[in-house]
C-alpha cells in the first residue's frame, strides 16, 4: 500500500504530541486520525450489510424452513434440499442453465474472436464495424427479448417470413414455441446480443501486440494462418481465457432473456435457475424451497467467480 504523506506528517505530529501524554489522550489522537476514514466508508458498509450481507444470510437460513410467507415458518432441516434433489424440474433448470452458459460462451467468444481478428487487419470502416458490433450490447435485455419474440413468431415473425421469401420454407421453424428448439433459439439471441462484448476486449488485446512481432513474422515468410496460430492466439490467450470465464459467469445468471421470451416454457424446456427460483418463490409462494435453489445458485456462481478472481487477480481499469 502506498504511503500517505498527509497521514504520515499527521502521524509524526501525533507522535510528538503524544509523548508524555496520557493513554486516553493517545487513544483520542488515534481516533481523531482514523475516525474520519471509518465515517467515509461507513455508508458503503452499511448499505452492503443491509442490502447484501443480511439478505444473503437470511436466504441461507430460509433454505432450512418451509414457509409460504403467511403462516409461521417451520424448520424442516435438509428437507428442501432432499426435495430439490428429487425434483426433475430443478435438474432441468440446472442443466438448461449450464447448457445456456456453455453455448452462449462458446458462441459469443468464438464470433467475437473472429470479428476481432477480421477488424484487426485494418479493414476499411473498422471503426464503423466496431460501433455496430457493440450496439446490441447496449440494448436492455428485456427489449432484446421482446424484439426477438416478434422475430421468432411463427406466422408473421421476420425470421419465418424471410425464410419463406427466399425459398427456404422447409427451414421454417416454431423456434421458441416448441420444446425442441426453444432453448437453442434463446441461446442464439444471447449470442446475437453479446458477441460484441468479447470482440471489443479481444480486439484491444490483438492491437496491443507489438507491431514488430508481426513484422518479424512476415519477414520470416510465415503464412497468415501460421501467424494467427503461433503468434496472435498464444499472445492473447490470457485475455481469451479471462473473457470466456467472465462470459460464462455472466450467462449463469441469465434471467431477463428467458423470462421475457418464454417464461421458462414451453413445458419448462427453457427454465433456468433464475426463472425457476422466481417461479417457486413468487408464483408458488414456496419461499423456503426457492431459498434452497438460491443456495445452490450461490454456491455454484460464488465458487466459479471466486476461483476466477483468485486466478486472475481482478485488476482495475486505468483512467
Amino acid at each position: 500500500m502506498e504511503v500517505d504523506k498527509a497521514d504520515s506528517t499527521l502521524k509524526r505530529r501525533t507522535a510528538v504530541a503524544s509523548a508524555g501524554q496520557s493513554k486516553g489522550q493517545r487513544v483520542g489522537f488515534w481516533l481523531r486520525r482514523n475516525l474520519i476514514w471509518y465515517a467515509f466508508i461507513a455508508p458503503a458498509v452499511i448499505m452492503l450489510v443491509m442490502f447484501m450481507a443480511l439478505p444473503l444470510i437470511q436466504s441461507l437460513e430460509l433454505a432450512f424452513y418451509e414457509w409460504n410467507g403467511l403462516r409461521p415458518r417451520e424448520y424442516i432441516a435438509l428437507e428442501n434440499f432432499k426435495d430439490l434433489f428429487d425434483d426433475r424440474f430443478f435438474w432441468g433448470a440446472l442443466s438448461h442453465t449450464l447448457t445456456f452458459a456453455v453455448y452462449s460462451m462458446v458462441g459469443t467468444v468464438g464470433i467475437g474472436l473472429l470479428l476481432a481478428m477480421a477488424i484487426a487487419r485494418r479493414v476499411r470502416g473498422a471503426s464503423i464495424y466496431r460501433f455496430i458490433f457493440y450496439l446490441p450490447v447496449m440494448l436492455p435485455m428485456a427489449v432484446t427479448a421482446a424484439l426477438w419474440v416478434r422475430m421468432y413468431e411463427q406466422n408473421f415473425g421476420m425470421l419465418n417470413v424471410m425464410l419463406r421469401s427466399v425459398g427456404l420454407a422447409h427451414l421454417e421453424g416454431t423456434w421458441i414455441a416448441s420444446r425442441e428448439t426453444a432453448l437453442g433459439s434463446v441461446i442464439a439471441v444471447a449470442v446475437w446480443q453479446f458477441s460484441g462484448f468479447p470482440m471489443i476486449i479481444l480486439l484491444a488485446a490483438i492491437e496491443n501486440i507489438p507491431e514488430d512481432l508481426h513484422e518479424a513474422a512476415s519477414l520470416d515468410g510465415i503464412s497468415e494462418s501460421q501467424r494467427i496460430w503461433h503468434l496472435t492466439l498464444p499472445l492473447i490467450r490470457p485475455v481469451l481465457i479471462s473473457i470466456s470465464v467472465l462470459q460464462f459467469i455472466f450467462s449463469l445468471k441469465v434471467f431477463d432473456l428467458v423470462w421475457v421470451m418464454t417464461l421458462g416454457g414451453p413445458a419448462e424446456s427453457t427454465s433456468v435457475l433464475g426463472t425457476f427460483l422466481y417461479k417457486e418463490a413468487f408464483r408458488k409462494q414456496e419461499y423456503g424451497y426457492a431459498s434452497a435453489v438460491a443456495v445452490v445458485m450461490f454456491v455454484v456462481i460464488f465458487t466459479v467467480t471466486y476461483v476466477y478472481q483468485r486466478l486472475m487477480r481482478v485488476e482495475a481499469v486505468e483512467f
Binding site: 500500500m1 458498509v45 455496430i132 447496449m138 424484439l147 422475430m151 417470413v161 434471467f255 467467480t305
Partner: protein
C-alpha cells in the same frame, strides 16, 4: 473476410433497424408488408403509448420512473462509492485491507439469491413499490466494483492538492468535496457511464420489488406487453414503440460516449 464482416453487421443491425421502422407503421402495414418501409410515417403508436391506452399505464409514467430511479441510484452510488474509495485509498486505518477483501467477495455474490429476503424486509421497511427503495438497492448492487475502481483512481490522485486544502483549515470532508471531487470529474463521469446502462435495463429486482403499475420502470413495461399471438391483437406497433423508446436513450448515450463505454465495460462485466 469483408463479406463475413458485412454479413454479421447486417445480422446485428437489421433487427434494430427493423424495430425502429416497425414502430412507425400501422398494424395493418406490419402484418401485410413487414419489410416495407413505412408509408407514410405514423407516429400515432408513440402518441398512444406515451399517453397510455385502455389497458396500459401511460408510458410517460414508466419513462419518468426509470429516469428518476436511474438518476437517484447513480447519485447515491457515486457519492457513497466515492467516499468509500477515497477512504480505502488514503486512510491507513486498521481494517482497510479486510474491508477491501470484503468488497471483492461481494462481487462474487449472484444477486438473484438476495431477492426473497429482500422482498420481505423491503416490504417491512415500506420500501417496496418505492423509488427510494429501488435506488438504494441499485446503488448497493453497483457499490462493490465502483468502490474498487474509485480506490484505484484515488491511489493515483496527487496528494498535494488535498494537503494544501487541509493546511488551509479544510476538514477531510471539506477537502474531499471542494478539492478532490471537482478535480475528479472525469473519473466520476466514467463511473456514471459504467453504471447507467445496467441500472436503466435492470429487470429482475424491478419485477419483484415494483408490483404496482404506477411505480414500474421501462424494462417492466416492455416485458409486460407480452404478445399472445401476433394476429390476435393490434398492439404490435405500440409494442415496438415502447421497445424503441426504452432503447433510444441508451443508444443516444452510446453514440455520445462510445469510447468511454467500451473502455469501462470490462469493469462493468465484473459485477
Amino acid at each position: 473476410m469483408t463479406v463475413l464482416l458485412l454479413a454479421w453487421a447486417v445480422v446485428q443491425v437489421y433487427p434494430i433497424i427493423f424495430m425502429f421502422i416497425t414502430s412507425v407503421k400501422t398494424d395493418k402495414q406490419i402484418l401485410n408488408a413487414p419489410f416495407a418501409l413505412p408509408d407514410p410515417l405514423k407516429f400515432e403508436n408513440y402518441e398512444i403509448v406515451w399517453q397510455g391506452d385502455r389497458v396500459a399505464q401511460p408510458f410517460s409514467t414508466f419513462f419518468i420512473n426509470s429516469f428518476i430511479i436511474t438518476l437517484g441510484s447513480l447519485l447515491i452510488l457515486l457519492f457513497v462509492a466515492g467516499l468509500a474509495g477515497y477512504s480505502l485509498a488514503r486512510g491507513r486505518f486498521p481494517g482497510n485491507a479486510a474491508t477491501q477483501q470484503m468488497f471483492l467477495l461481494t462481487l462474487a455474490v449472484p444477486v438473484h439469491v438476495l431477492i426473497i429476503p429482500m422482498y420481505f424486509f423491503m416490504g417491512d421497511l415500506g420500501l417496496r413499490n418505492d423509488h427510494l427503495g429501488m435506488m438504494l438497492v441499485y446503488a448497493t448492487l453497483g457499490l462493490p466494483f465502483t468502490i474498487i475502481l474509485m480506490r484505484a483512481y484515488f491511489l493515483s490522485f496527487p496528494h498535494e492538492l488535498e494537503e494544501a486544502a487541509l493546511l488551509d483549515g479544510c476538514s477531510r470532508f471539506g477537502a474531499f468535496i471542494r478539492v478532490v471531487v471537482p478535480v475528479s470529474r472525469g473519473a466520476i463521469a466514467s463511473m456514471a457511464i459504467i453504471n447507467i446502462s445496467w441500472i436503466w435495463s435492470e429487470l429482475f429486482f424491478a419485477l419483484v420489488l415494483l408490483d404496482q403499475p404506477q411505480v414500474r420502470t421501462l424494462p417492466l413495461a416492455v416485458a409486460g406487453y407480452r404478445p399472445v399471438s401476433m394476429a390476435a391483437e393490434s398492439v404490435v406497433g405500440q409494442q415496438f414503440a415502447i421497445m424503441t423508446l426504452t432503447a433510444l436513450p441508451l443508444f443516444v448515450f452510446y453514440f455520445l460516449f462510445q469510447r468511454q463505454i467500451r473502455k469501462g465495460m470490462t469493469a462493468g462485466a465484473l459485477r
